[in-house]
């Protein structure tokens, strides 16, 4: 059973890495998500799949063949955290794509390498280009590339 899970984790990790190395930002973010799930499966497998009963001790009974509960607890934590981070990554991805028309990793590098705009440091104004986004709300944004 472990070998099947290990192979699956390895395959998923491979797919995740492949997506991660893509130029398209959507694929990069999906790659992180798939890699995260591959690693979750790996952590679960690392606890071995011995035991068939729930590891739950009551006042009267002790399970005869309990499964290892620790990796399950670890993976549950990791899944919850991973879900939150993935949601945040998607939000940033949406904003970067739809408000600013950045769709590739090369473009991300180009934009961050731009010289700092003057008077940027005067407080924390909401940027004009962000404010514009609100006018578009309600319209179907779709996945078209807007530059």
């Amino acid at each position: 059973m472990e070998w099947l899970a290990a192979l699956t984790a390895g395959g998923l990790a491979g797919i995740g890495m492949w997506l991660l190395l893509d130029r398209n930002l959507i694929r990069v973010v999906l790659g992180v998500a798939i890699l995260g799930n591959a690693i979750n499966l790996g952590v679960l497998t690392s606890g071995r799949f011995s035991g068939t009963d729930a590891a739950f001790v009551t006042a009267t009974t002790v399970p005869a063949d309990p499964a290892n509960p620790l990796p399950q607890a670890l993976v549950l934590t990791a899944i919850v955290i991973g879900f939150g981070l993935f949601a945040f990554a998607l939000a940033v991805l949406k904003s970067v794509r739809e408000s600013h028309g950045i769709t590739t990793t090369d473009r991300v590098t180009e934009v961050t390498e731009e010289p700092a705009p003057d008077a940027e440091e005067v407080g924390l104004q909401v940027h004009q280009d962000d404010a514009d986004v609100h006018h578009n709300e309600g319209q179907p944004e779709g996945l078209e590339v807007r530059r």
Partner: protein, 497 residues
């Protein structure tokens, strides 16, 4: 259970919660934020005083004995890190007390900062590898929210880079935690240390620990995996990048120091690799800085280069070198955050962050020039400031172990650092403003920012002048790292003594 043990985590978390509940009342959130930061500083000072007296606080959370439960341990290194985290947190929220800008964003800033501080403090006090992973994630989500704060094209693009590469590092850490559990059957740092020190180490465990160190290396921005840092730190709002510059890479450095001293107390193959990595990090970082022409981008590359010094101390593995690394860690956090704050003030006064668009500040605000000179000279290692002692100890330790070339690289990096700092000094302070003196704004509201930078500068001078006691503390912390009895005790004496 001693409540002081959990205070470094509970204080920022409570501050954050109260801040969230007070959301509509922006002024109240700010007051709560400052009070929370002050309490964290006080907790840190109390912990340092206790640790200095030789007390090691520890707790088994939820009453589950080690190695089954989560262990918290506060030794000298942890206590010092918590105290310094409080100081940087306080300086950050003070600097963030500006009125210009979107009030909602300014309020959210305070909430997120305390969320991040909780993660950082948690990482400093935990004695459990999986718990360390959880704290890394807590500080990571806080840092994501902070770096994206305010939005804008350039900032969100930087956030994307920061987000993907940091998530990758954290995933590698999670996998290595799983593999360590698979190979050794424990996630408790103390038990892991005992297994490694017993000499009967499963090869898979060694491999998993190496993998964990790789993920810490990404976090700490070591050569060759530092690329994410200079690509993202300069896009955030000034107090955010100062907070990141001070604390975030240093959490990675702390984790490396903790794990390496625990599992490999003697100089070995891992230390040799680290030594080369440290030298490459110092040089590549400082040379990368030479090619930059914006204040924060120069300073970002210097973070990379300075992290190399700390890893140099760790790699040498002698008690003196480890003490030097601890001293460097304390000195560097204060100095680096302060340089980012001052860079931010200078940028606001001159209206530009590019060196070409700045100038004339020496004539207009000599105080700011002095405040810049203190951390800048300290960073380069000029006596009697804190950076001199930090570098002195590391160079002495390298020469004592016969690594003259490592000492040479450290000194060379110091010279380049001085060159870089004089470049900022010439362009920002000495030369005339390109648009004439009238272009320098005098109506800029810096307010509490002055207190933040003056306080940190005073602390730098204090660490420099009082290097004796600080060094004595660092030496004692290094002794504790070499013989982490407190970590082993929870395993060897379950239920306490």
């Amino acid at each position: 259970m001693n409540t002081l043990v959990v205070a470094p985590v509970v204080v920022p978390l409570l501050t954050m919660l109260v801040g969230v509940m007070l959301r509509p009342h922006h002024q109240h959130v700010k007051v709560v934020s400052v009070i929370g930061a002050i309490v964290l500083v006080l907790v840190g000072i109390r912990l340092v005083v206790l640790a200095d007296a030789g007390v090691v606080l520890s707790a088994q959370l939820g009453g589950w004995q080690a190695p089954y439960g989560i262990t918290l341990v506060i030794d000298r290194l942890s206590a010092a890190m918590v105290a310094i985290t409080g100081v940087i947190g306080l300086a950050t929220v003070l600097y963030g007390l500006v009125r210009e800008g979107n009030p909602d964003v300014l309020r959210n800033f305070h909430v997120f900062v305390h969320g991040l501080l909780a993660g950082v403090c948690g990482a400093f006090i935990t004695g459990d590898i999986f718990n360390l992973y959880v704290w890394f994630e807590v500080l990571l989500i806080g840092s994501f929210a902070l770096i994206a704060l305010g939005g804008g094209k350039r900032r969100l693009a930087g956030t994307m880079t920061y987000l993907v590469l940091n998530l990758l590092a954290t995933l590698v850490f999670l996998l290595s935690a799983g593999l360590i559990y698979s190979a050794t059957g424990t996630l408790n740092m103390g038990e892991l240390g005992l297994i490694f020190r017993s000499g009967e180490v499963p090869p898979a465990a060694t491999l998993a620990v190496v993998m964990m160190l790789v993920s810490f290396a990404i976090k700490a921005a070591l050569f060759p995996v530092f690329g994410w840092l200079p690509a993202s730190y300069h896009v955030a709002w000034t107090p955010v990048s100062a907070l990141f510059a001070g604390l975030l890479t240093k959490v990675g450095v702390y984790a490396m120091i903790r794990i390496v001293t625990l599992v490999w107390p003697e100089y070995g193959a891992a230390h040799e690799v680290l030594l080369w990595v440290a030298c490459a990090t110092m040089l590549v970082g400082v040379l990368g800085a030479a090619a930059q022409n914006e204040v924060r981008r120069i300073l970002s590359f210097h973070i990379v280069s300075q992290v190399g010094y700390m890893i140099l101390g760790l790699a040498l593995a002698s008690p003196l070198a480890i003490a030097g690394a601890v001293f460097y860690l304390i000195h560097h956090i204060v100095v680096k955050a302060n340089l980012f704050f001052i860079g931010g003030i200078a940028a606001r006064l001159t209206g530009s962050e590019r060196l070409a668009g700045m100038g004339g500040l020496y004539a207009k605000t000599p105080w700011l020039a002095i405040l810049f000179a203190i951390p800048a000279l300290s960073l380069a290692g000029i006596p009697p400031l804190s950076g001199f002692w930090a570098k002195f100890v590391l160079v002495k330790a390298s020469l004592a172990d016969g690594f003259w070339w490592a000492a040479g690289v450290a000194l060379l990096t110091g010279i380049f650092t001085l060159l870089s700092m004089s470049k900022i000094w010439n362009e920002t302070f000495l030369k005339a403003h390109p648009q004439g003196e009238a272009a320098i704004r005098t109506d800029v509201e810096v307010r509490w920012g002055w207190w933040a930078v003056s306080g940190l500068a005073a602390l730098t001078v204090l660490i420099g002048l009082g290097a004796g006691p600080v060094m004595a503390y660092a030496v004692a912390a290094a002794e504790q790292l070499a013989q982490p009895v407190s970590y082993f005790e929870a395993i060897t004496h379950p239920g306490g003594r």
